[in-house]
Amino acid sequence: MAALDATRVRDGLDAETVKTVQAMAGKYKHGWQTDIETEFAPKGLNEDIVRLISAKNGEPEWMTEWRLAAFRRWQGMEEPTWAMVDYPAIDYQDQYYYARPKALATKPKSLDEVDPKLLATYARLGIPLKEQMILAGVEGADGAPAAARKVAVDAVFDSVSVGTTFKEELRKAGVIFCAISEAVREHPELVRKYLGSVVPPTDNFFATLNSAVFSDGSFVYVPEGVRCPMELSTYFRINAENTGQFERTLIIADRGSYVSYLEGCTAPKRDTHQLHAAVVEIVALDDAEVKYSTVQNWYPGDEEGRGGIYNFVTKRADCRGARSKVMWTQVETGSAITWKYPSCILRGEESQGEFYSIAIANNAQQADTGTKMVHLGRNTRSRIVSKGISAGRAQNTYRGLVSVHPRATGSRNHTQCDSLLIGNRCGAHTVPYIEVKNNTSRVEHEATTSRIAEDQLFYCRARGMSEEEAVALVVNGFCREVLQALPMEFAMEAQSLVAISLEGSVG
């Protein structure tokens, strides 16, 4: 609690409030771990480990070679240092790159065969792995027809997929939704065509590492003209100690299709840092639309910065087709370090990219996150709304690129970055890159940094709210544009996460 004690308390705040808030600090409700027998690949990283992961997944030769090529390249690469994050050097040989619950040594044929301990883990996280269930917290909300809302879930536990729900129903619609390890075996033509076509194995240090060692993740293919009948979702859980999670997600939306995809992630509380380096690739063909929403709630570490996930993620969408559209929405509340820039390559004419982000950094968290919008096609449009909130001793950076190429005539971008500082020991930074290379396009960037307005707080408090309720209300208002962009299942979780993440930050 030293971080909070040292925070200068502003005049007019009552001591009781500060004490209550301090007592609530550092709450992370997903910090427990599942006691389950796990088999590990040997510690460290070398070609044998890469081959082993490939063999465990029963991959064909071409996939193994693809991984090895990435691994060899990675060995000659340097870890990037340009982000405004500071962490001790990572020993890449002191990690496990593959961990699988023993119960999953042979793939269960259906969810009924899955170890109840694993099912209980997801139940406790509020993730339904039974098809008759729906996401916790949604029932009866705001008169929404909860029973009618189905969400298909792919649950990834450490290095492997536990199972995927609603596969049958999705198959009837022609939608393929499965673990990527399964897709490599069952749909090699699709995987071979698209894997690495958006984020090539040579892309950057962390993406190359992922290309070599990714163990599982989700694969989605929505065929031409199909509107995916339900939301798809992947839930990532890191459980094993000293284990990195490297998942890979590939989403292909064929012509005129639509899919909404949700991603959630949590991890147990541990005193040591854990590595998470994921890659997400999205391909949107003509008239396709993909909505990708993330609530990132990895363990953020304690108030002193002990433990927490190092989250180095490469997410990119290729709006390859004309009039295609990709919308990234992210709520980043977890992780000790966040290094993440979900991007859109707007290649197709009149394609659209959107990025809505809330990044909350409290205690000793450091977040360097933003987006890239690369306008290559004519009349392409992008919109960026980023809300950064810093509290405690946290550093929160928006880093973004808007690039309009000479041929991308008639394009349009609007960027809005707002930062909120709570307390006088944190930092909020904005690092946008803007490159405009034709004059029929219009690019606008605006950013503000401020603290929570006293008059807004006063107004709320004068009406009987406690300080922290008032802060939560003002912050929720500050984030509203982004929260509204989330699917309802996530919006509610995100809203309460915003409040929890900021607990203990008042003062």
Partner: protein, 425 residues
């Protein structure tokens, strides 16, 4: 950020440092030489040179310009009553300069540095403190090598501006000037700079603004098309002081204007503005850092660029607020008007903020002339060229408004009019 191994080209240029300069200046130069060697020369891979190729600025020699002498270009601010000090091809031209003294202001040539002991605490000091977070190796090399320059001290209010006029006769002159300006507490000084000055001109100006002092700086670069220039303005502001700097850049093949302003005392104000006009082979770069290190200060950065025929405008700016600089009011706007499809604007407007009770914002836009406004004016009978000229002036108005002196503002407006008149689409 510093690279310990000096790059060969830097070493070669640094070895040209003349020996035998006596006293504190020699010490300051020696220290700067070590800094420059440690930093090396800038390259395209350096973060703050990603938009601008430093090649012509770090090449062994100045670019050759065919028209050795410049004729016909009227001197900017010719009608302004000021103490004129002239440099030709990077060397002080005493014959062309005003001999008369200006009450309350002391002006000493860099060569006579021993006569200006006060400059010991300034020469190279602000430059040395201005390398974080961005190294400025050209500035360090300038401190080490500058052949000439002026040490200007204002003890009280100066009745007239001090004007430094840069003239060029040679087609290959490589000027390197270093000026120091100190304003004592309560002093007032307006510094005007005009002209091109050399085929390649590198300047460093260090400005110390004392408590309650007021420093205004108005600069017109150009109107020549071929020269290249790199300027560095380092300023430190004491409590309740005022600093205003405006730069007009018209033409010039490559111009990099760096500014580093540290607001060190409470209640101070720093405004930096720029208007850049480029047509054709024109690359202009404003790299501006304002560091708020004291409470209750205000800063504004207003940079506007009008670009056509392949001209490139660059803006890199930062408002950096330290943890104790509460009640900061920071504003930054960078805008480009792209008059045709070849022009480009590259920007990196940054905020780095460590204090919570602040109000900071920035904005950046790029686009063509607003079609609706153009239609409005044309519907009222204005020919297209005139309507465009009017809209370009309106676009630049926010930057020009930062000039506090009406006569200088009028002179700048005349220069803008002239440029727009000569560069119609």
């Amino acid at each position: 950020m510093g690279r310990p191994e000096p790059k060969p080209a830097a070493d070669a240029r640094l070895s040209a440092l003349p020996d035998g300069t006596a006293g504190w200046l020699a010490e300051a130069r020696e220290a700067a030489r070590a800094r420059a060697r440690a930093l090396g020369l800038p390259g395209r891979r350096d973060e703050y040179w990603r938009f601008t190729n430093p090649g012509p600025l770090v090449a062994a020699g100045a670019p050759g310009i065919a028209d050795a002498a410049v004729a016909g270009d009227a001197e900017a601010f010719a009608g302004i009553d000021a103490l004129r000090l002239v440099f030709r091809d990077g060397v002080f031209d005493a014959a062309a300069s005003d001999a008369a003294a200006l009450a309350g202001v002391e002006v000493v040539r860099l060569a006579d540095a021993p006569r200006a002991g006060w400059a010991r605490d300034l020469y190279g000091r602000l430059e040395a403190a201005g390398h974080l977070p961005v190294p400025r190796p050209l500035a360090a090399a300038n401190t080490a090598l500058a052949a000439d320059g002026l040490l200007i001290r204002a003890r009280t209010g100066a009745a007239r501006p001090v004007m430094i006029v840069y003239r060029r006769s040679s087609g290959s002159s490589d000027g390197m000037l270093h000026h120091c300006v100190r304003l004592d507490a309560g002093a007032r000084l307006t510094l005007v700079e005009a002209g091109t000055g050399a085929a390649r001109l590198t300047t460093v100006t260090e400005v110390e603004v004392g408590e309650g002092a007021v420093f205004h700086h108005i600069r017109a670069q150009g109107p020549e098309e071929a020269p290249v220039a790199a300027t560095h303005l380092f300023a430190r502001l004491a409590a309740r002081s005022e600093f205003r700097s405006f730069t007009l850049t018209a033409n010039g093949r490559l111009t990099r204007n760096e500014a580093f302003v540290e607001i060190a005392g409470p209640g101070a104000l720093a405004h930096l503005a720029g208007a850049a006009l480029g047509d054709g082979a024109f690359h202009q770069d404003d790299t501006v850092f304002v560091r708020h290190a004291a409470e209750g200060c205000e800063s504004r950065q207003v940079f506007k660029k009008v670009l056509r025929h392949g001209a490139t405008g660059v803006f890199q700016g930062k408002i950096h607020v330290l943890p104790h600089a509460q009640k900061t009011d920071g504003y930054q706007i960078s805008q480009a008007l792209l008059l045709d499809e070849d022009a480009q604007f590259l920007a990196k407007p940054e905020l780095e903020i460590y204090a919570d009770d602040v109000k900071c914002s920035h904005g950046s836009t790029a686009g063509a002339i607003d079609a609706t406004s153009l239609f409005y004016l044309r519907a009222r009978g204005l020919p297209r060229a005139e309507a465009e000229a009017l809209l370009v002036l309106a676009f630049l108005a926010e930057a020009v408004a930062e000039i506090a002196e009406p006569d200088l503002a009028a002179a700048v407006e005349a220069l803008l009019d002239d440029w727009i008149g000569r560069h119609r689409g």
